[in-house]
Symmetry: C2
Subunit: 538 residues, 2 copies
C-alpha cells in the first residue's frame, strides 16, 4: 500500500525533539529514539523532511516566494497534461478542472506576496523599560517561526486546489515547513504528476532537499502522522476520517495540532420579502450552487429555510431541466449518495420539488442530476435523524417554516458547527430598519455563533482566496475552529511564536531588528507606556 516518492538518503538516526521526559523513552541501545519502527521507505521520507526543517526555516521570505511562484507557473504551464489526467480520474468537467488549476496557481502567488509582506509574523517589540509598572522590564521581541515538518492529507473533491499543491500545501511551504503530502487515492496518478511538476520547480528554486515529498496509502499517512518528528497535520475530508486522524494527533506521546476541514451542511435562510423581490434569481443561484461539481463541495447549501406557503419551491421546480447530468467522483461516493437520497426521499412528509436521480454506468460510476426536496418544519423535526446528515452530492432540502418561527433558534436546535450560513433578505431588510430587524440581527448572531462565514444574498459555494477569507467553523466543520484553510490567514496554522529577551542585535531574527531590514510591520510598546494602562477606563 505504501510507496514513498522521492526517497533519498538512507534512513538514519534522528530523534527529533528529544527524549520524552514524562514517559519511558523508547530508545535503542545507541541512544536513538524512534516512536515506532517505520518502514525503510517512510523512515527515509520523514528523515529527509526533518533534515530539511532547519535549512528551510533559514531561507528568506523572498526565496520561498520565488519558489511558490515557480510552482504556480509550472502548474499552469503543465495545465493541459494535468487536466487530462484529472478528467479521467475525477469525472469533474474540463471547465471546472481548468479553473481549479488557475485557482491553485493564484493561491501560491498570493502566499508569495503574503510572506514577503511579513505582517503574518506579527512582529512585536517591547522596548526595555526602567519605569515598567512591575519593575524594570527587559527588551522583549516576539515573532513566529515555522513549526517543522507537516503532513497534509489531501482531499478527493478538489484534485488541485485542496490536493498535492493546494491551499494547505501552499501555506505549509510559505510558512517554511517541510511538507509531506499524503495523496488521495481517488486521483493517485494526478497526484504523482502534480508532485513531479512541483518537485522540479522546488529543486530549481533551490529549496532544500526534503522540502516536499509525496506518499501514498492511508496506513502510510497514519504512520507518518504518529512520528515524533512531524509537528502538525492538515486534512480536508469526511468527519469520520478527520476525527480519526485528529484523535491520533491528540493522543500521540507528544500531541500536535491537527487542522481538519470536515463536514458542513451550510444552512440558508430566505425571507418572504427576498422571495417577493427576486424569486427567480434566488432559485437559479440555489440550483447552480447545489448542482455545481455535482454537489460534492463542503460548502454546498444543504438546507434552505423558507417561509411556508411561499412560491419558491415552484420557481425552483420550473428550472428542473437546467442542470445537466454529472458524474460523481468515484463509485463509493456515488453509492453512498444513492443511499442518502433514497433515505431523504423516503422520510415522512418529504416531497420532491425536483426528483432528479442517479444511474450507474458499466464501470460502476454514478451519474446524478440534482434532487431538491421540500418538507414542513414539523416533519423536518420528526425526520431529523434521517435528514440532518450531510448528503455528499447534488441534493438539498427546502424546509418550510411557519410564520412567527424564531429563526435564530433553529440554528442551535438543528446544527452544530458549519463552514457557512447564509441569509437572503430584501433591499429594505438590508437597511436594518424593517419591522423584523431585531429578528434578523438575532439570526446573524446565531449564524456567527456556529459558522465560520456568514453570507448575505449569495451562495456559499465558491470560496474567494483572499486575506479576509474564513473557511472554518466550530466542530464538526473543522477539528480546530481558531483557523482557516483558505486565505492568507491559513499560514498561521504552521507557525509558532517565539520571544527573544535582551537579545543582541547580531543574534536577533531580521524581523525583530530595530533597523527593520525586511521593512515589515512591527508593533512597538515603548517605555513608559505601562504606567497609564487602564487609566482611561476608571
Amino acid at each position: 500500500m505504501c510507496t514513498a516518492h522521492y526517497p533519498g538518503a538512507p534512513p538514519g538516526c534522528n530523534n527529533g525533539s528529544g527524549f520524552l521526559r514524562d514517559r519511558k523513552p523508547r530508545h535503542t541501545k545507541d541512544g536513538c529514539m524512534t516512536q515506532e519502527a517505520l518502514s525503510p521507505e517512510l523512515e527515509a521520507v520523514v528523515a529527509r523532511a526533518a533534515a530539511a526543517a532547519a535549512p528551510l526555516a533559514a531561507t528568506t521570505a523572498e526565496h520561498r516566494a520565488r519558489a511558490l511562484v515557480k510552482i504556480a507557473d509550472a502548474l499552469e504551464a503543465n495545465k493541459a497534461k494535468l487536466v487530462e489526467i484529472a478528467l479521467r480520474e475525477t469525472g469533474l468537467t474540463e471547465a471546472r478542472l481548468s479553473g481549479e488549476v488557475t485557482r491553485t496557481a493564484v493561491q501560491l502567488r498570493l502566499f508569495a506576496d503574503t510572506i514577503v509582506d511579513g505582517g503574518y509574523l506579527d512582529a512585536r517589540i517591547d522596548h526595555a523599560d526602567p519605569d515598567f509598572a512591575l519593575g524594570a522590564r527587559p527588551d522583549i521581541r516576539r515573532t513566529h517561526i515555522p513549526v517543522g515538518p507537516v503532513i497534509n492529507f489531501s482531499a478527493s473533491n478538489f484534485p488541485f486546489a485542496f490536493s498535492v499543491m493546494g491551499g494547505d500545501s501552499a501555506a505549509i511551504l510559505a510558512a517554511g515547513c517541510p511538507l509531506i503530502v499524503k495523496a488521495h487515492s481517488s486521483h493517485a496518478d494526478l497526484s504523482d504528476a502534480t508532485a513531479e511538476v512541483a518537485a522540479t520547480a522546488i529543486t530549481e528554486a533551490g529549496l532544500p532537499e526534503g522540502t516536499f515529498q509525496l506518499i501514498h496509502g492511508r496506513e502510510a499517512g497514519v504512520e507518518v502522522l504518529k512520528d515524533p518528528r512531524i509537528k502538525a497535520g492538515s486534512f480536508t475530508g469526511s468527519i469520520r476520517v478527520g476525527r480519526l486522524l485528529a484523535d491520533i494527533a491528540a493522543n500521540r506521546p507528544a500531541p500536535i495540532p491537527f487542522f481538519g476541514e470536515l463536514g458542513s451542511v451550510n444552512p440558508v435562510f430566505v425571507t418572504l420579502d427576498a422571495i417577493a423581490e427576486r424569486a427567480d434569481e434566488i432559485a437559479s443561484g440555489y440550483l447552480t450552487s447545489v448542482s455545481g461539481s455535482a454537489g460534492q463541495l463542503c460548502t454546498k447549501p444543504g438546507f434552505v429555510f423558507i417561509p411556508a406557503g411561499s412560491s419558491l419551491p415552484e420557481t425552483v421546480a420550473a428550472k428542473s431541466g437546467d442542470a445537466p447530468e454529472h458524474r460523481l467522483l468515484d463509485p463509493r461516493i456515488a453509492s453512498s449518495y444513492d443511499e442518502r437520497r433514497t433515505a431523504v426521499l423516503g422520510t415522512a412528509g418529504a416531497r420532491a420539488v425536483i426528483e432528479g436521480g442517479i444511474r450507474f454506468d458499466d464501470d460502476g460510476q454514478g451519474w446524478a442530476t440534482p434532487t431538491i426536496v421540500a418538507i414542513s418544519l414539523d416533519d423536518f423535526r420528526a425526520g431529523r435523524e434521517a435528514l440532518l446528515e450531510e448528503s455528499f452530492g447534488p441534493l438539498s432540502i427546502l424546509v418550510e417554516v411557519p410564520e412567527g418561527t424564531d429563526l435564530a433558534a433553529l440554528m442551535p436546535e438543528f446544527y452544530e458547527g458549519n463552514l457557512s450560513g447564509t441569509i437572503h433578505l430584501s433591499e429594505a431588510e438590508a437597511t436594518g430598519t424593517t419591522e423584523n430587524a431585531e429578528q434578523l440581527r438575532a439570526l446573524v448572531a446565531a449564524l456567527a455563533n456556529q459558522v465560520g462565514r456568514v453570507l448575505f444574498n449569495g451562495w456559499s459555494t465558491g470560496v474567494a482566496v483572499t486575506p479576509a477569507q474564513q473557511h472554518g467553523g466550530p466542530w464538526p466543520a473543522t477539528t480546530n475552529d481558531s483557523s482557516t484553510s483558505v486565505g492568507t490567514a491559513a499560514i498561521t496554522r504552521f507557525l509558532r511564536p517565539v520571544a527573544f529577551q535582551n537579545a543582541p542585535a547580531a543574534l536577533l531574527p531580521e524581523a525583530l531588528r530595530d533597523d527593520n531590514p525586511l521593512g515589515i510591520r512591527q508593533q512597538l510598546a515603548p517605555a513608559g507606556e505601562s504606567q497609564s494602562w487602564g487609566a482611561r477606563w476608571r
Copy 2:
C-alpha cells in the same frame, strides 16, 4: 467535593451548540440534550455561563475594559486582607504575595487597553473586486468573536497571578467569554475571598449574571470540562494533570481547544568568556533565580551547561549562605521535592556545590534551602533517567561540558519543549563577530526550535506582562504551542475568526464597518490587487 459558588437560576434545559450530527444524540424526551447528567449545582453553573455568552459577547470593549479595571482596583483595595489569607495558605513571603497582587492588577489593566485598542481583532476587509484573478470577488470582512464559556483551572504556585483573577481569567473576560474558574485546592479560602471581591466588581460594572463563577473540586472541574456548552479550557500545572485534562478536551464528542501550561526545566548555557567577564554577577543571579519562591516556578533554571573546569561552581558555592530557608507550598510538594533531591544527589558523579536541605515541621510543611549540584556531561548522560525530570523546588544542576562539545546538539539530545532557554555570553560574543559566532548562532536556533522564549544574559524567572511576551513552548511545556499564557497575545486563545460576505453595513460588526466607529486597525485588500500577486517574484 464539589461546591458551586454563586449558583443562581434553577437548572434548565440548554442544549448549547445543538445536536451532534455524527453521533447518536443523547437527549431526553422533550428534545433537550445534555452530555452527561451534571449535579444540580454544576448544571446551574454551566447553564448560567451559557446564558451569559450572548449578552457578554455583545458588550462593548469599553464596557469590559471598565469592568477589568474595576476588578484590578478592587483587588488592590483588598490587598491586605487577601495577602493575609494567602500567607497562611501558601507559605510564600509577604513581599512576593503583595507584588503578585500588583502584577495581577496590572495584567487586568493591560487587557483593558488591549481590547479597546482592538488590534487583537485582526480586522480584515477585502473590497469587492470585479477584476479579481479568479473572477469577481464579493466583499469579505473578517474579525474575531469570543468562543463562549471557558473553564480555567488555576495554579498552586501563583495564588493571584495564575489563579482566580490571574492572567488566564483576565484574557478570558477581556475576550468576552463567560468564565468558570476551578479553584486550586491548596488555596481554597483565598480563592473564595478573591472570587467575592471580583464578583462584586463585575456585578457593579454591569456585566451579565453568569459572567464569572468559581467551583471547587477536581471532579467538578472535569465534569464541567466535558460539558458541550464549554468551548475552551485553560490550565497551569503539572504535566500529568495537564495531559489528563487535555486528553479529556480532545476526546469529547465535540473536541475543544485546551491551553495547558505544564512543566519546564529551562536550560541555560554559559560561555567561558561570560564567566571570565562576570562570574560573580552570574552566580548571584543564578542563586536568586533558583531560590526565589523556593524554586517553585515553571521558569526556574533547572540545568546550566558550563565549560568543564570553569570557576563558576566555586563562585556559586561561596554564596551558599545567601538564600534563606523557605517553606514549600504544601506537604505533598515538599515530600515530592525531598524525594527528587535525594535521587539527584544520589546519582553517580553528582557532587553538591551547595548541599542545602529540607526539613519538615510539626504540620508536615517542608522548609528548604537551595541545593546546587554539579556533574560532568558524561555522568549526566549516564544518569539522565534520574536527572532530567523537573525538580519542583530550589534545586538546579550545573552540567560541566568538555571543550569542543556541540552545544546546539545538547538541546535535542536531552530536552523536549521548554518555556525558556538562556544564553550567557560576553560583550564581545554579543557582537556576533567572535570565533565561536557560528556556534552561538546554531545554539540560538536550537533553543528557538524548542522553547517559547530565548533569553540573553538574564534569568528566566520573572516573566514581564507585555505585548511581546511569549510564555509557552512545544510539548510538554504546553499542550498547545501556538499560544502564550502571559502577555496580550494570550487573548487570542479565546477567540474565533468569522467572515462576513456582502454584509449590509447595518448588519456588520462595528469592527468591520467602513466608517470604523471603533477607530481600530483594519487591514484592507483593495480591488485590483490580485492581478499582480506574485508578479514581483518571477
